[in-house]
Structure formats: C-alpha cells, structure tokens
Subunit: 154 residues, 2 copies
C-alpha cells in the first residue's frame, strides 16, 4: 500500500480526521467522543495513534490539531466522500442513502480511482453533502476555516 494510495488509514480514523478537518482543524477529546458516541478513552487512544502517524499534534488535556499532512489527507478524505456520494446519486441513490452507503466503504477506495471518477464526472463542484474542493482550492478554503475558528475562540 503506497503512502498516497488513499488507503493508509482504517475507516474510523478517516471519519475522525474528516470531522476534525470540518471542525476547523482542531478538536478536543469530547468533541469527537460525543459526535461519534464512543467512550472518550477510545478517542484519547486514537489521538495517540494519529499523532504517531503524523496526522495530528496532541497536547494532552488540551486537544489536537491537524498537521499539514493530516490536513492534506483529511481534505482528500472529504473529497473522496463527496465524489463517491455524487457518483451513487448519479446512479440512482438518494442523497441520504448515498452518503450513508459511502460512509461504510469509502476508506477502501483508492485515490487513483477517486481521481478517475472525478475526472469522468467533469470535476463537479457541488456534491450531495457539501462542496467538492479540487486540489488548489483546499489550502485556501481551509485557511479561511482556520481563521474563522481562531476568531471565534479569540
């Protein structure tokens, strides 16, 4: 499994990273534990693993922040989710069905496949559960999210 195949992380870690990304790049243990209804201790342990994998920085008792690599990968995970959901919608599923279906298997779909599907669909911008971001835009959009979160936390 090459490091950029898109298959480096198991399903649950992908979900957590997407969530952190969408929360502006930072999160605390309880944010995730309650969002996913799992025990906080599970999240602490997952933070440790994602930190040693280079996806997160963990400051004990304070929370995590995505690293650059983590942000890049999370952006891909979100894009992958949206491309695949859109593909299913274009193949007969309702948006909600598509989203749920994709959540179960997305972690097993390679970047190469996603890129091909994306190209084939004409690099759509509007997905079924949010905008689809294409490479260059990711950093920009995320920077905005970060700035917003910073200002909210002052």
């Amino acid at each position: 499994m090459s490091p950029h195949s898109g298959l480096a992380l198991p399903a649950r870690k992908v979900e957590y990273l997407k969530f952190i990304f969408e929360s502006g790049g930072t999160a605390r243990t309880n944010d995730i534990a309650s969002a996913f209804s799992v025990d906080p201790s599970t999240i602490t342990k997952t933070f440790a693993e994602l930190t040693s994998g280079g996806y997160l920085l963990h400051t004990p008792y304070r929370g995590v922040t995505l690293t650059d690599a983590g942000r890049r990968d999370a952006a891909f995970f979100i894009r992958r989710h949206r491309i695949l959901s859109l593909m299913l919608v274009r193949n007969g599923l309702s948006p909600k069905e598509a989203c749920n279906e994709v959540r179960r298997f997305e972690s097993m779909v390679s970047k190469k496949a996603v890129d091909r599907i994306c190209e084939f669909m004409g690099h759509p911008r509007q997905g079924v559960c949010g905008e689809i971001t294409h490479d260059d835009e990711e950093s920009t959009l995320n920077a905005e999210r970060m700035a917003l979160k910073m200002s909210l936390e002052h």
Copy 2:
C-alpha cells in the same frame, strides 16, 4: 443490520463463498487455501464459521457444499461485484482497475444500493468480469454449473 441487507458477512468470507459458488457449489480446503494463498488451517476454521452461519455444509476431511441460503447469498455477492465493477467502468475506470477496486469494498455495499444501481443501469446482462445474473436466472444457471461439475467428477 437486517439479515438481507447484504452486509452480514465480512470481506474474506464473501470472497470464499463467491469462489465456492463459482466452483460449482462445492470445494475442498486446499482449493480455497491455494486459490487465496492462505494456510489451509485458516480455511478449515472459516468453513466451521460459515457452516454454523448456515452458508455451508462441512463434512470434515471431505469438503463443503453451499446450502440453499449460501447459494442464494453467494449469487448475490457475485451479482453485487459485477454491478459495482460495471458502475466503476462506466465512471472512468478500466475493467481491471474496477474489479480490483470493487473487491476491496464490495462487502460494505448493501443489497438495496446494489438493486437501485442495477435498476438505474438498466439491468445490464454483461458485466466486466462475467455475466450479470438477475434473480430468476440464478437458480437455473447454478443448476447447470452443478450438473457440469458432477459430470466432471462423475
């Protein structure tokens, strides 16, 4: 997870059942062990699990046979594989890529989704890695396969 969601079995067991189905409904430990390059003891254990799950009948030291339920499910697994592969081919992937991609995630795709996609694609007959069988035909075709295998083993 309802019993007919199509998600009752983990990936590897799905692969094994598909293989047994395509071998005519019966197989011996070594057939599977060598086809998948795993230790025979792993297969023996999996046979036990699939037997207690009602998918197989296992006669120790002699091999397994699909039960009716096992045959029905295996037929669905194969149909699912082909429908999904075809969808990916129709969305930009090569047949080989599609097959390999689908093998990784097919076990997570529900029957309901497959049925919708199948309908949306117009109940295609020709898949990218074999014919796509639709409900009524399954028993017929499989009966033929069984008969063939019987005659070969005389």
